[in-house]
Amino acid sequence: MKKKILLKIFIAIAFLMIIYACVSYVYLQNKLTVDMASPTKTVNTLGVLVVPALLIVGLFHLLLLIRVLKTISPNFFHSLYIVSLTLSGVLLLSDIMLLSDIGKEYLLWDITSQWHLLYGFTAFHIVNMLIGVIYLIKNPSSGEKLFTGSKKSNEALFISLHNISFICGLLGLAGVILSFTGLIIPGRYSIQLMIAATFLALFPFVLIAIYWITRMSKKRIKDWTDEKQLSDSGYGAMLCLAVLLPVFIIISIISLLGSGVVSLPAHFWMLYLPASFWMLLLFFLTLTIYGLTIILRNR
């Protein structure tokens, strides 16, 4: 009972903090203009206090993640929420960095896009927190420990791991292709965007993979999967090989054409494939195909 009351208080505080952050952003956006040569004391205090507020929101994200992992389910939307919640947690750090950049740059150039990004991220945090509260209400604590799950939850975790592999693979593919083609930001920033997209797409997968390995580490490696899961993994690997080999051959031919062996007109710029692009492309393609195979074989 006491735990439940404490949880309710914590939820209320976390929501108050995100509302405080929102109100501060609106206030700061109105105040931080070229007319203000240096930030006033109020502006500075508001800005500084946003950091602990966001840290409390981060702690709430962590609490939600622990609950979601303790009540893990093979449901695809459950896995999608794990990815979304993890990304929202990581983006809290970006909020702090963006605020710091805004404070340094508002006198130098237009920072409207940074504010838009900040509002977008905040909306994403709020959506995740609201889903989290609904989740907490619908899924009371299962009594399971985080690192010693039952056989049933181990099976759910195995499927969840591959759901997340598929989701992160798709996110990574989208990020890498969008950065390479320069569709969302100018081409000169493509490497930076590719690194950011790779980090964000990989983070949830690495997190859940480490969690799975940690939970399984008490068992012998041959007991980590049962024979059907092993057979599914074999199918996944075979399909990856079947898809990746032709893709690899195509990329090799394109790279050869773009390497100067054959001189090509300038508008064939897409043929100059940097290794950073195609390596990440193949990597995320592997994650996607492998995850999808396991999902389809466990329907």
Binding site: K151, K152, N154, E155, I159, D223, D226, E227, K228, S231
Partner: protein, 68 residues
Amino acid sequence: MELKNNIRKLRFENSEMSQQELADRIGVSRMTIYSIEKGKYVPSTVLALKISKVFGIAVEEIFTLTDI
């Protein structure tokens, strides 16, 4: 050739055993039992023998090869 089985029937005859219970007794996942029952997955000899041991009957009484 197709491998048919009557695990589902045997489970119900054995105190309506759930897929999870059977899975726990032979150390596999519930999805493995589900897939075997549906004919989507052909178990190894070891697994087939474990299943027969749970029901206390011969493997041939659980699994049968049929011509399609």
